[in-house]
Symmetry: C2
Subunit: 285 residues, 2 copies
């Protein structure tokens, strides 16, 4: 497309508005600018094209022949553009809000609560995809994500959701709080969480005779531990429900750290749906 000989699109839009309104002042109100801006734009298009397009008549302006022909083309052209944008927005609004969350967070925190979200906002369909990768939200079509880390991800806006302290838990009666390393109870560790394992060893909470089993998900570890099979360590927020309901007891706890769970989304203006979901997340803590 040859844009070389085309006046400024802003100027053409100003002319289009003035042409349809028959008035610089009315066009200005429609485009939320001053009449001076419209006047300058229109005259610059005229100067550029070497033709008079709108001339003063009484308290308004009327189109010349050249102006009428240009106005027709612009009306069609801008109409198509606006319709195309509107259509894309409608499609975006029609599909479910696409959310990605880490496996642990999705299973232990989000899914138990999602019923409450739907109760409150039945009109917002969600699509929740568990993933531990820091995916490219835009490329992979996500509106919003929840991720675990230090919150420093270039090109993303991050909002702190949960602090990342850990709690050591077991079923009631399995081990006394001050005898974790001497208890002989089996440790269950999630495969990916090397850091929490290191912490357990450095805190002296694992004895030489204690067996440890590595599993692939926190959910598996929690299933075993709820059944009285031993001890595990998890982010405090992910086991707060189990503790509150008496299924597990807290044996030890780390200090809150810099890393934690964050809400992430691309920079820029958020759609209403994303805003709603984000606000709900922050309130549902």
């Amino acid at each position: 497309m040859n844009w070389r000989d085309v006046p400024s699109l802003s100027a053409l839009r100003a002319f289009d508005a003035a042409a349809r309104a028959g008035s610089f002042s009315q066009a200005a109100r429609e485009l939320n600018v001053t009449h001076a801006a419209i006047a300058q734009h229109v005259r610059s298009v005229e100067s550029d094209l070497g033709a008079s397009l709108l001339v003063r008549q009484g308290r308004g302006v009327v189109l010349t022949d050249a102006g009428a022909r240009l106005a027709d083309a612009l009306s069609d052209g801008f109409g198509q553009i606006i319709a195309g944008v509107k259509s894309v927005r409608a499609d975006v609004d029609a599909r479910p809000l696409s959310i990605t969350a880490t496996h642990n967070f999705a299973e232990s925190w989000l899914m138990p609560r999602i019923g409450k979200f739907w109760a409150k906002y039945p009109e917002i369909a969600l699509s929740i995809v568990p993933s531990n990768k820091l995916v490219d939200l835009r490329k992979d079509g996500f509106d919003v994500g929840i991720r675990y880390g230090d919150g420093n991800w270039p090109g993303l806006e991050t909002t702190h959701l949960l602090a990342a302290d850990y709690t050591v838990v077991a079923a009631p009666g399995i081990v006394k709080t001050d005898q974790i390393a001497q208890s002989g109870a089996t440790w269950f560790f999630e495969d990916a969480h090397q850091e929490s394992q290191r912490w357990v060893r450095e805190a002296g909470l694992i004895g030489p005779s204690q067996k440890s089993v590595t599993v692939s998900t926190l959910g598996m570890a929690l299933s075993a531990v709820r059944a009285g099979g031993g001890i595990t360590i998890a982010a405090s927020a992910l086991v707060s429900d189990d503790i509150k309901d008496g299924r597990l007891v807290a044996l030890s706890q780390t200090q809150p750290e810099r890393i934690g769970y964050y809400i992430i989304h691309p920079p820029g203006v958020l759609s209403d749906r994303v805003k709603t979901f984000k606000k709900w997340l922050l309130k549902a803590l």
Copy 2:
């Protein structure tokens, strides 16, 4: 037209270019910007609409479904706009260059020379409209004008063409140079030129017994004077041909003043035809 939810037109054009090129770098070359500008615009449209439109694939980008739909609409819309602009330009180029000049200038200076202009530029049709008014060039559809005055006309670009000194002339043998006031020859004055009449009186060039006749145009005055009917005063440039050809003799002359003949046109870039005409005027002195 509701522009409220429409991304920046510059950004949409950048997206359109990238969509059709399949490459930010190629789109940048086509729009004469850097690839960074294209990338920023595209991502801002995506952020605004809440949808991925172009994703990286190998060394280029490909359209998503949403992107393809938007690209179709933009292609149509921008295509219409460009076609409309092109059509108006073509019409403007097809019609004659519209020139307004003062009556005197048109008759005494321009028309005698216009043949040379057409000889040199046969492809440029001209429409010459004599008028002494400082018309609204744009409103009245003129490309360029020639006017007499001090050159200080707000909103117009002015280029000095001719200085406004005056020459007193008569046919050869009608009057001796040092005996204008004593000659008894009839003075012919153009109606509008009060200033030159005042100069004649103040210079003592009109005697108490001399008749003076006021006519409506310089052309009428010159006709009478060429026929030996008396004396007149005119802008030097307008009678330089008559003097050179021996039809008239110069009897007296004013000093050049601030006022004079100017080429006027609206501000902004001039079309090639206007540039050509203007340049020719300045050379044809």
